[in-house]
């Protein structure tokens, strides 16, 4: 069975985007290296350091499905109609956006919660990993003890305000085990296993 993984680029002060969802201050490492990294199912090509490219290739190559939230879907404007990284994506929402509710829609909307979304993602991913995205969905997954691994791309900036990844955890104490630290140019990659 694949792992359930959440992965974010994050500032030292814990923000994954600025107050208006801006990511330009933290996504610099995607374009500051000299190794071309074509993004699956997208015309985008990142320019990464070799160390970062090796990690992302491994991480994204093992991905079988993504679960995210409605806000992520809206902010990204439905990723231009193409699921990111070309894997099935399950969007947890209360209200299905009708323009995407058609039969051949590339998106699956889940209205009965994160467990259901995870079960559907698993069925679709087979043995591959499941990526959890969207901060609120990630927080719900963390609280429910459903995350196996946290992967952070820690970037050297203090944003001072914005969207916090580890918010709303309500004093939840979660022990982690550090499994990987990679000191790459413009970013420090950290991987933690969530102890259960």
């Amino acid at each position: 069975m694949g792992k359930v993984i959440t992965e974010f680029t994050i500032s030292l002060d814990g923000f994954i985007a600025g107050p208006n969802d801006e990511v330009d201050r933290i996504f610099g490492w995607y374009s500051s290296g000299d190794t071309d990294f074509p993004v699956q199912s997208s015309p985008m090509v990142f320019k990464l350091s070799r160390a970062s490219a090796d990690l992302l290739r491994e991480s994204w190559g093992a991905l079988g499905a993504i679960v995210t939230g409605r806000r992520d879907f809206d902010v990204s404007e439905a990723w231009g109609g193409v699921p990111p990284l070309g894997v099935p994506i399950f969007i947890v929402t209360h209200n299905i956006p009708q323009e995407w509710a058609k039969k051949e829609s590339p998106f699956t909307f889940v209205t009965d919660g994160i467990e259901s979304a995870l079960a559907q993602a698993r069925a679709s991913a087979g043995d591959k990993d499941i990526g959890i995205s969207g901060t609120q969905i990630t927080q719900q997954f963390l609280k429910a003890g459903l995350i196996d691994e946290i992967r952070l791309h820690l970037v050297p900036v203090l944003l001072g305000a914005g969207i916090r990844l580890f918010d709303n955890l309500q004093d939840e104490n979660i022990a982690l085990e550090k499994i990987l630290v990679v000191d790459a140019p413009d970013v420090t990659h950290l991987r933690y296993h969530v102890k259960k």
Binding site: L12, L158, F166
Partner: protein, 203 residues
């Protein structure tokens, strides 16, 4: 002239103590995990008579000893001073500048290692720099760091990241109320139960 640096242990979700931290509950609820790295290694380090003997990994010990060598003066907040019970009069570094509104009279005496500063963080750092000379001023309290960052007085941030999510408590980078502050990561040391990160503040 020395640097103005900062050094504390932080959880992966950004807390330096759990909720309800007080002198009877120093690291707050659920905060004990922060200091696991201080007591799970095989190299003994003692900072002062007022602090317990640390048992840390060789890698962490090497860093800590470098820090001690560079120490010229420290700046703490009053809450930290109270939570530490004034380290029994033996702070982890000396001289120790304590920012407070009310001076605890029992520590105002000949030979006291404490200098109480009642006119704010900027004044405390200025006095600490003077005392430190060529050596470094080390800030060891979250609220002091926040105010010093706002005032542009910090040169370097050292964060020891503990592998734990606490979910609440004393947030290290709260109340910054500034625009983005650019950093340069100058050192990453992976050690047992902790990741030591060092950042230079780009001015």
């Amino acid at each position: 002239m020395g640097k103005v640096t900062f050094n504390m242990t932080m959880s992966l979700d950004g807390f330096v103590a759990g909720p309800n931290d007080n002198p009877e509950n120093g690291l707050g609820d659920g905060g004990e995990g922060l200091f696991k790295w201080y007591f799970s290694g095989d190299t003994e380090v003692k900072l002062s008579e007022g602090t317990p003997v640390l048992k840390i990994s060789k890698k962490s010990a090497k860093l800590l000893k470098e820090g001690i060598k560079g120490y010229g003066a420290g700046v703490w907040g009053r809450k930290t001073f109270d939570i530490a019970h004034a380290w029994g009069g033996n702070p982890p570094g000396s001289p120790a500048f304590i920012v407070t509104h009310h001076v605890p009279q029992e520590w105002v005496k000949e030979g006291s290692p404490f200098i109480f500063v009642t006119d704010g963080v900027e004044s405390a750092i200025r006095q600490a720099k003077q005392a430190a000379g060529e050596k470094d001023v080390v800030i060891c309290t979250a609220s002091i760091l926040q105010q010093a960052l706002k005032a542009g007085l910090v040169d370097e941030i050292n964060v020891d990241v503990a592998p734990i999510l606490i979910g609440g408590g004393v947030s290290l980078f709260d109340h910054l109320g500034t625009g983005p502050i650019e950093l340069e990561c100058t050192r990453v040391v992976e050690a047992p139960n902790v990741t030591h990160l060092c950042y230079r503040i780009i001015k």
